[in-house]
């Protein structure tokens, strides 16, 4: 089955471009602002959208995304509202893939089958669930594949060659390479290590490899884009959203536009990367 993600990466390949993958947390700082940013992301250059499902205990995330999760939950975010955001986005964009990213408990609590039917109905294309390693594939990965969703797995520097085949076995859509051992938004990766790691993963799979964790500037995004099929930026965008909240906790007027302007700069970095490299 060809999914929206497959089509998107295939098209980018023919255009010889890397994918720009953006992450924002659903409902941060509130539902309407997320929806405005979400709708503007494709025009700002996002090729794939990761939408974070807020969870009280984001164990693999650094301070920026933890704080965004807290803001979202405080503003009333919930699983149903996250799915509603996707549904509303999908009403006006039938091409840009959306991947839900988060932790297993809110999904488990809703019930896996119910969640999968609601997610496919809303127009979700893939899932990244941080705390579900291949050892727990029967929990969600296998049912998600049966429902036609891509299950995108994280590979990390600790995933050695012996383990890589198990990690890749049920992965589809793309492989998300976490460039550093650590939490989101921490130290930036070294380009040389990233290139070697991407090459290593590509020896085991024909899937596109997107790289994330620690990419904060258009220059860093460009560096990654030269060496991988995609660059993921999360914490830096989430920080830009945080800067749009005034000391009284209100969202500043024009917030979505300014966040999208920042996203565009990052996108230009990614999309110009290979052109620059060719010069």
């Amino acid at each position: 089955m060809t999914t929206r993600l497959d089509k998107r990466f295939a098209r980018l390949k023919t255009e010889a471009r890397a994918a720009f993958v953006t992450f924002i947390t659903a409902g941060d700082p509130d539902f309407d602002t997320t929806l405005a940013i979400l709708k503007g992301l494709p025009a700002a250059g996002a090729d794939v959208i990761e939408l974070g499902m807020p969870f009280t205990d984001p164990m693999a995330d650094g301070p920026a995304i933890q704080a965004s999760t807290q803001r979202a939950l405080k503003a009333g975010a919930s699983m149903m509202k996250t799915l509603d955001l996707v549904r509303r986005f999908r009403a006006s964009d039938s091409d840009t893939p959306i991947v839900l990213m988060g932790y297993y408990n809110p999904i488990y609590h809703m019930g896996v089958e119910l969640f999968l039917s609601r997610a496919t109905e809303a127009g979700v294309d893939g899932l990244i669930v941080v705390d579900l390693p291949p050892e727990e594939d029967d929990e969600l990965c296998e049912p998600a594949m049966r429902a036609g969703l891509n299950f995108i797995r994280l590979a990390t520097p600790t995933t050695d060659d012996r383990r890589l085949p198990a990690v890749l076995a049920n992965t589809s859509g793309f492989v998300y390479y976490v460039s550093i051992n650590g939490i989101t938004g921490s130290a930036s990766p070294e380009t040389r290590n990233v290139a070697a790691a991407v090459a290593r993963i590509k020896r085991h799979t024909s899937l596109p490899v997107a790289v994330g964790f620690g990419i904060r500037t258009p220059e860093q995004a460009a560096e990654i884009a030269r060496n991988a099929d995609g660059a993921v930026v999360g914490s830096a965008i989430v920080d830009a959203i945080a800067a749009e909240i005034d000391p009284q906790g209100r969202v500043k007027p024009g917030a979505a536009e300014r966040v999208l302007a920042f996203v565009r700069k990052l996108a230009d970095g990614v999309h110009g990367a290979r052109a620059t490299a060719a010069e």
Binding site: M79, P106, D131, L132, T156, T158, T159
Partner: protein, 405 residues
């Protein structure tokens, strides 16, 4: 006749780290290779007599084991029913059962060539025990502790610092044990090469729940032998308090196949189960996945984790060890609860009648004993786990009783 191997309740977990549907390895990919390594290293150590000999030696000469099994005559008389024995793990070095586990794990960490130890702590007892073994074996120690807990457990914070540990305040969430555990996991993901995460309770990804249980089972094994010596038979019931549930699991596990022994775990009911302000994951929660395992959790209708409340920082955790969740569902153990108020009353009663100031955690167990014991015959042998001493709690208790120190 002993239960056959196949029907034993002591065989868990399975190769996936599960007790029934509970347990498992729900961790990020970065940690997965480490968790698998740990499992392999622990299995090898467990089967190495030299490792066990090392633990036994330290348990005797450093911790002071075996801890006594003490007949609490005045409480027995006061309640007027069952004969109440206390397993005196509060007499251990560092003042609680936590050291049993820390000793086993630090010896394992050293076998694995790890050079840095991290831990989470709630009441501070596990933090102190970890800092203690780190001092003894010369390893650097970082303890994550919520800011709320730091405030209510000042003496333990200072003890950890005296022992050379770095105490890192955790401000996220409500600044309690679950937040400290999140932060310790973040540290571990970041420092995978040299760091050993010394988890303090029977929770977390496999093999932690089984490993911590094994290290704590010295409590139940000693109890069995001591009761045999004193009374010539098995006890009739066991009672222990439960936060994550390590002291309880240590007492219960060796008795799981002795079906005549009734088993009671006492959760913290806080201000009362009906108020929603409690830490009773089994009585007031539902199945979910947090901190690497599936178990019972306090959560809302969206699957978001709720903050617990208890007068006792050591019980203030929104989950419970997965083996307890399984014992609850299979009915082998019965889980009950005691409120803050009941625990405070038991705390004072024990101090006055037995000359033992208990920690607020086992005061919950004693609160349940005070209800159950009077209903039982005088030849009923009950063992309550006195898993910690109350020195750390005197300030908090004074505060609750309206006394200014």
């Amino acid at each position: 006749m002993s239960t056959s191997q196949a029907n034993s309740l002591r065989n868990g977990p399975d190769e996936r780290g599960r007790f029934g549907i509970f347990g498992g390895r729900f961790v990020a990919e970065t940690l997965m290779p480490l968790v698998l390594d740990l499992d392999k290293a622990y299995t090898a150590a467990k089967n190495d007599p030299a490792f066990q000999a090392q633990i036994d030696f330290m348990q005797r000469d450093y911790v002071g084991r075996p801890s006594p099994l003490y007949l609490a005559e005045r409480l027995t008389e006061k309640f007027g029913g069952a004969k109440i024995y206390m397993k005196r793990d509060e007499l251990n070095h560092t003042g609680s059962h936590k050291i049993n586990n820390c000793l086993g794990q630090i010896l394992l960490a050293m076998r694995m060539g790890k050079t840095r130890i991290i831990a989470e702590t709630g009441a501070g007892q596990h933090g102190v025990a970890t800092a203690t073994v780190c001092a003894r074996f010369g390893l650097p120690c970082v303890v994550y502790m919520g800011t709320t807990d730091i405030e209510r457990q000042k003496p333990n914070v200072f003890r950890m610092k005296l022992l050379g540990a770095e105490v890192v305040p955790v401000t996220s969430g409500t600044g309690t044990l679950k937040d400290a555990m999140n932060e310790a996991l973040r540290d571990w993901v970041t420092n995978v090469d040299n760091t050993y995460y010394l988890i303090g309770t029977v929770a977390g990804p496999h093999p932690y729940p089984a490993m911590v249980r094994d290290f704590q089972s010295v409590i139940g094994n000693e109890t069995k032998a001591q009761m045999q010596e004193r009374e010539g038979r098995l006890p009739d019931s066991l009672v222990a308090c439960i936060g994550g549930g390590s002291n309880a699991m240590g007492l219960f596990h060796p008795f799981l196949d002795d079906r005549s022994v009734k088993i009671y775990g006492v959760e913290a009911a806080g201000k009362g189960l009906e108020t929603g302000e409690h830490c009773a994951s089994l009585k007031g929660g539902s199945a979910g996945v947090l901190h690497g395992n599936r178990t019972y959790l306090l959560q809302d209708e969206d699957g978001q984790i709720k903050d617990g409340h208890s007068i006792s920082a050591g019980l203030d955790y929104p989950g419970i060890g997965p083996e307890h969740a399984w014992l609850h569902e299979t009915g082998r153990a019965e889980y009950v609860s005691a409120t803050d108020k009941e625990a405070l009353e038991a705390f004072q009663l024990c101090s006055r009648l037995e000359g033992i100031i208990p920690a607020l955690e086992p005061a919950h167990a004693l609160a349940f004993v005070s209800k159950l014991a009077p209903t039982l015959p005088k030849d009923h042998l009950m063992v309550m786990n006195m898993c910690g001493r109350g020195d750390k709690d005197v300030f908090a208790v004074a505060d609750h009783l309206g006394v200014t120190l």
